[in-house]
């Protein structure tokens, strides 16, 4: 019996090599996605081994526009603990009602008609 094993080719990308060890900015994700798609690979492995830090905005953009919607299989490897926690937060995606009214809180809002009144108030603060 002859077995033929067909393996999908896999492109391995070191994300820190492309973007640096700090992952930030939503636009950088869009750039990265375009670059990855140009490889025309069916499976991409993204290695996070050199990553030190990421903003939530980056991870949100990465997850939402890249991981969820890419037409390719993406595997993430060596994801640092903090970055994984960020992915988990984004995946859990707190549903917020986009309430269009702001609850009145008279104590929090102050209106001023003169600069001297503003400055008197600022002087009075524990700031």
């Amino acid at each position: 019996m002859t077995y033929i094993c067909i393996m999908k080719s896999k492109k391995i990308i070191d994300i820190a090599e492309y973007m640096g060890c700090d992952l930030k900015s939503r636009y950088a994700v869009r750039d990265f996605r375009e670059w990855v798609e140009n490889f025309h690979e069916s499976v991409i492995e993204i290695d996070f081994k050199g990553v030190n830090f990421a903003t939530r905005s980056f991870i949100d953009e990465f997850y939402r526009t890249f991981l969820k919607n890419a037409d390719i299989d993406i595997e993430l490897v060596n994801v640092p603990e903090d970055i994984q926690a960020m992915f988990d937060a984004v995946k859990s995606g707190k549903k917020k009602t986009n309430s269009k009214t702001i609850a009145d809180n008279d104590n929090a809002v102050l209106k001023f008609s003169s600069v001297s009144d503003v400055n008197d108030y600022l002087n009075s603060l524990a700031f």
């Binding site: 930030k24 900015s25 750039d31 830090f53 939530r56 939402r64 702001i102």
Partner: protein
């Protein structure tokens, strides 16, 4: 008309610089002339919450402001030129070399960066270089450095995503003996209100309500998956104030927001006091924060 600036802003008083800017703006408004000269005298010492609000105000002012700068510090931070333009250097490496000349100072110069998406990679490298320089200069622990990076980067990303400003600004001063740093990040774009006005079903019609909405995490991006938007400001503030016992000030249009552990206020400024842009000023203490972990604040 000439306005003489002979102030020395005490570093303990975070809001003092803002008060001085408000006085200057008041004078400018009261002046009938179309040209106003602001004279900075030699012994003047100012803070980030003075510098960037004045810079942004000037960009949106309908009068011509001329600076007569007799102050060497303001020259060093590149104030008269509107800051050090990061994209005027051949490469991020050249910019980093320039920044090395500030590595022993207690400030970074005003950095004037392009918001053009074409410069995304360069901008990110430059911001990383600045953050790392600050961390190294102040010998910040990793946990504080990541908090600083998070807060700064989320502010910058908001400028890129929402402000429609061609330029963004960042300026920082450090106080090693008192163990805190002040950073100000600003744009001269469409303001928070301008950003909300672009939403099809916008309900916010004034600077104050727009500012309150932004600080509640209501995103201007009306996308189907927008439940994960709007966390930048909220998380950054929690990290800064609850986590690091810091101070947060936001200015946009005629609205001002102040927050620390004791104060949480929104102020509507007099109508003639208006910034065409958004400015965020923060103070980050970096002592007694050994237990701080930025990831604990990410929802």
């Amino acid at each position: 008309m000439k306005i003489d600036v002979k102030i020395s802003i005490p570093d303990d008083d975070f809001l003092f610089g803002l008060q001085e800017v408000l006085k200057i703006i008041e004078c400018i408004n009261q002046c009938d002339e179309n040209e106003v000269t602001i004279v900075f005298h030699e012994k003047t010492f100012v803070t980030p919450i003075f510098i960037l609000p004045l810079l942004v105000y000037e960009k949106g002012c309908n009068k011509k402001l001329i600076y007569d700068n007799k102050n060497s510090y303001l020259n060093t931070i590149c104030f008269s030129n509107g800051g050090l333009k990061s994209d005027s250097f051949d490469s991020p490496m050249r910019f980093s070399e320039k920044m090395k000349s500030y590595s022993k100072k207690t400030f970074i110069p005003i950095i004037n960066f392009s918001t053009d998406n074409e410069f995304t990679t360069e901008r990110n490298m430059i911001l990383t270089a600045i953050e790392n320089m600050i961390a190294s200069r102040l010998n910040l622990r990793h946990n504080i450095t990541y908090g600083l990076k998070y807060i700064v980067e989320e502010c910058v990303d908001n400028i890129i995503e929402h402000s429609e400003s061609e330029r963004g600004y960042i300026f920082g001063q450090f106080y090693p003996k008192k163990k805190f740093l002040d950073i100000c990040i600003a744009d001269n774009g469409i303001t928070l209100l301008g950003s909300y006005r672009k939403m099809p079903s916008n309900v916010y019609t004034d600077d104050l309500s727009a500012m309150q909405a932004a600080n509640r995490g209501i995103s201007t991006k009306n996308l189907s998956a927008a439940e994960n938007r709007g966390f930048g400001i909220v998380t950054s503030k929690k990290m800064l104030i609850d986590g690091l016992n810091g101070y947060y000030v936001m200015l946009s249009g005629s609205a001002l927001h102040l927050k620390n552990r004791k104060v949480d206020k929104y102020l509507l400024l007099p109508a003639h006091i208006k910034w065409q842009g958004t400015i965020i000023a923060i103070r980050i203490p970096y002592v007694d924060n050994n237990n701080f972990r930025y990831i604990d604040f990410v929802e």
